[in-house]
């Protein structure tokens, strides 16, 4: 309760007249500039409510007289970026991937665009920078199921593998074990021979591998080649190298002969525009294995 206003002996300032248990409060007002700054912020806040979107309602919000929206701003930004890229994208669309690679400026654009598109669409299977994983081919090595030239890569991206596209890449290895074409011991011998093709055969199993040789010539050589060199036209992988999509140990090879493998890649023609597919092609080609 206000009692009496008196001058404080220490500071020379008036008290407010408030006293609690003998503690008196000095009347020390805020600095004037501070008070006016505070009033200014109140005015500012009210102006902000009027001008900008502010209060939520049941079915929307107050729009403010400027009708400002961050969504509209983002759309405008995207449209602006598209417009800025238009010259490059038109050239990417008009030129072949070979010609894109020859133009350093366009190549840099295509690599940047390809990297972004790869991250959005390809990384879940082929891993970052096309490192690959079991069952999903590495795009950074020098081994290609369907060929590693720019044209071949572009074609594979467009039609996919076993994708349902009319012209899809498809290879059809028989299920030798599961369909009863070869017996268990025969598959064992065949796997031993295939190991030998890539120089990883076990000397102790040389007899088994020898038994596998005629089996290979009869059942496999037509697609995989006489010495396991593979046939990219039909998507038959090389067997005489050190790259194994489904694992190169004997157990994995036996499993592959037994029930075959049939990896699937979607067709991207129609899903992605032509320019993006070309940029992806150039990017994948640059990962280290392009021919």
């Amino acid at each position: 309760m206000p009692t009496k206003i008196e001058k404080d002996s220490v500071t020379g300032t008036d008290t407010t007249g408030h006293e609690w248990d003998g503690v008196r409060e000095l009347n020390t007002p805020l600095p004037t500039w501070w008070v006016y700054t505070f009033y200014a912020t109140i005015v500012w806040a009210i102006a902000y409510y009027i001008v900008y979107p502010a209060w939520p309602g049941l079915s929307g919000y107050t729009k403010g007289i400027w009708s400002y929206s961050q969504r509209v701003e983002v759309e405008a930004d995207i449209a602006q970026a598209r417009a800025a890229q238009k010259g490059y994208r038109d050239r990417v669309g008009a030129l072949s991937t070979d010609d894109i690679r020859k133009d350093p400026d366009l190549l840099a654009f295509a690599l940047a665009g390809g990297r972004a598109a790869f991250a959005d669409n390809c990384v879940p299977c082929h891993a970052v920078a096309g490192a690959g994983r079991i069952g999903y081919p590495s795009l950074a090595d020098d081994d290609w199921l369907w060929g590693g030239t720019l044209a071949e890569i572009q074609r594979t991206i467009e039609v996919g593998a076993r994708s349902g596209h009319a012209e899809t890449r498809v290879s059809d290895m028989p299920r030798f074990g599961a369909d009863g074409m070869l017996t268990g011991p025969q598959i064992d011998d065949l796997a031993e021979f295939v190991l030998q093709l890539s120089g990883r055969g076990d000397a102790a199993m040389a007899a088994s591998a020898e038994r596998g040789r005629p089996l290979y010539a009869e059942n496999c050589a037509a697609c995989h080649g006489d010495s396991g060199e593979g046939k990219p036209d039909v998507g038959a992988p090389r067997l005489n190298d050190q790259i194994w999509l489904y694992g190169g140990d004997k157990q994995s090879i036996v499993a592959s002969i037994n029930a075959a493998r049939a990896g699937v890649m979607p067709a991207w023609a129609g899903r992605l525009d032509v320019e993006t597919i070309k940029m992806l092609t150039v990017y994948v080609h640059s990962l280290g294995g392009g021919r």
Binding site: V10, V128, D241, I243, S286, G288
Partner: protein, 491 residues
């Protein structure tokens, strides 16, 4: 402090240890008392003028100095070109990769400051700090327009009238002009000065330039015109820890209390027996830019500018007493003089010796680094994905992004190879392949290349092998190197 010397001889500090009645503690928050420093002449005032002219002269005029570097290169002696990412200091050209020279310069400045403080107290505060220099200039203008201390106090007490309005307006206008020149000079260090001025005349000013000019105009006007000693006392951290830099052998502005006390006014023919030399004229307080009484001893607010020395010497000469009642002296000598002992000076002490040695060592290191720095460089970043790739023939391949810097303004030929691993096969997109790869570098360029290195599996003795990229200038000279690693599967 050893030797039983009390640096904190201010009475306030002494009474704090023995709290008395509530009334003696005073309020926790003190209102600012406006300081009206009086003009003064003397040795230290002249030194301060000389320092002011030299320092401001350098600041305002340096951006105008030209330095021919050849065609197509900026000809400003000191220029930090943010857009082109180059800094020019006369004959030195610094790339962003060499920013550690700036760090070295800052370390030198810090140790220099410690050394100067150890020797002679707050020399920096009193003579060279921008806050002191610009405040000094602003006070000089204030004195020109509004008159000296007493006239200014009177003017501030007067109610507003035309004459007061004219004087105040003129003062603030003059301050703003100087502040604007200060902001303008700042941006000149980051832009070609004549071009900048030319564009500004035609109203063509970029947003960053406008913002920085406004910022430095505003801060100069506020700090040197209004805040003044408040900056030194409340904002600046330096006075807070300068106590750690000082010792009893450091020269500081001191009042010789043994000689001056008991102080008191004197009249002619009055007997002076029992009185000290201090005539209590108050001149030392009147001229002080921070508004303190040096006779209270060493204190936080004192910037060691020596103006009270000049003021006191003038008065001492007038009343026919020996000068030096307030003087630069060491705290130890003050105590020795009081005890009638001869003064002792020790400039070389462990702390000053250590600072001086550090200063010389770092300076020498920087000069050596600058003199022998390479004109080309190579930096290597290893691919993170994939860590390594197995090739058809079983060889292991790693990918690297290699940046090659050519700091000369001429074309050069380089050869890149790798040490530390057997039979490396380098493959550089667009440049060729082999154990050695040749590069042609454009003048003054940073070029990025993708480098693949394949190594036969048999050569790989461990999962991680340290390797060194070596870039040799075919025209001779030092090779630039960069360390990295080569990763592979478990052998």
């Amino acid at each position: 402090m050893d030797g039983g010397v009390n640096l904190e001889s201010k009475p306030r500090a002494a009474s704090a240890s023995a709290p008395t009645a509530d009334e003696d503690d005073g309020p926790l928050y003190a209102n600012r008392l406006k300081v009206y420093p009086k003009g003064v002449d003397g040795t230290f005032r002249r030194i301060k003028w000389a320092a002011l002219i030299a320092l401001l002269g350098i600041y305002y005029l340096l951006p105008w100095v030209r330095w021919d570097r050849g065609p197509g290169i900026p000809d400003q002696a000191v220029l930090i070109d943010m857009e082109a990412r180059r800094a020019y200091f006369f004959f030195i050209e610094i790339w962003p990769q060499e920013i550690y020279y700036l760090a070295g310069l800052l370390i030198l400045a810090a140790i220099g400051l410690f050394l100067a403080t150890g020797l002679a107290g707050r020399l920096w505060c009193g003579y060279a700090c921008p806050q002191t220099v610009w405040t000094d200039l602003f006070m000089w203008i204030e004195r020109l327009i509004e008159g000296d201390r007493n006239q200014r106090i009177k003017l501030d007490q007067l109610p507003w009238n035309a004459a007061k309005l004219v004087k105040k307006t003129a003062k603030h206008a003059a301050w703003l002009v100087i502040a604007f020149a200060t902001g303008g000079a700042w941006v000149m260090y980051f832009n070609d000065t004549p071009t900048l001025i030319h564009n500004a005349i035609y109203g063509n000013v970029s947003a960053p330039v406008a913002v920085f000019v406004a910022l430095f105009t505003g801060t100069t006007y506020l700090l040197a015109g209004w805040a003044r000693e408040q900056v030194c006392t409340y904002m600046c951290p330096w006075p807070r820890f300068q106590g750690a830099m000082l010792d009893e052998h450091s020269f500081v502005v001191t009042y010789q209390a043994w000689r001056g006390e008991p102080r008191g006014k004197r009249k002619k023919d009055e007997a002076v027996a029992g009185k000290g030399d201090c005539v209590d004229c108050g001149q030392c307080i009147a001229v002080c830019p921070t508004g303190i009484d040096i006779r209270d001893g060493q204190q936080l607010e004192c910037i060691n500018c020596g103006l009270c020395v000049d003021a006191c010497n003038t008065v001492m000469a007038k009343v026919g007493l020996p000068t030096g009642l307030i003087r630069y002296d060491t705290v130890l000598n003050q105590a020795r003089r009081a005890a009638r002992l001869p003064a002792v000076y020790r400039l070389i002490r462990p702390r000053t010796a250590i600072y001086a040695v550090l200063l010389a060592a770092i300076g020498a290191l920087m000069v050596y680094g600058l003199a022998t720095r390479s004109t080309h460089d190579v930096t290597v970043q290893r691919d993170r994905s994939p860590l390594f790739v197995t090739l058809s023939d079983g060889a292991i391949r790693n990918g690297y992004t290699v940046k090659i810097l050519n700091k000369l303004r001429q074309e050069r030929s380089y050869m890149l190879t790798v040490f530390g691993i057997g039979a490396p096969h380098l493959q550089v997109t667009g440049q060729g392949e082999g154990e050695y790869v040749h590069f042609e570098a454009a003048p003054d360029s940073v070029a990025t290349y993708k480098v693949y290195i394949a190594v036969p599996r048999a050569e790989l003795k461990a999962e991680s092998v340290p390797i060194t990229f070596v870039l040799t200038d075919l025209a001779g000279g030092k090779a630039a190197t960069h360390k990295s690693v080569f990763l592979g599967p478990k052998p």
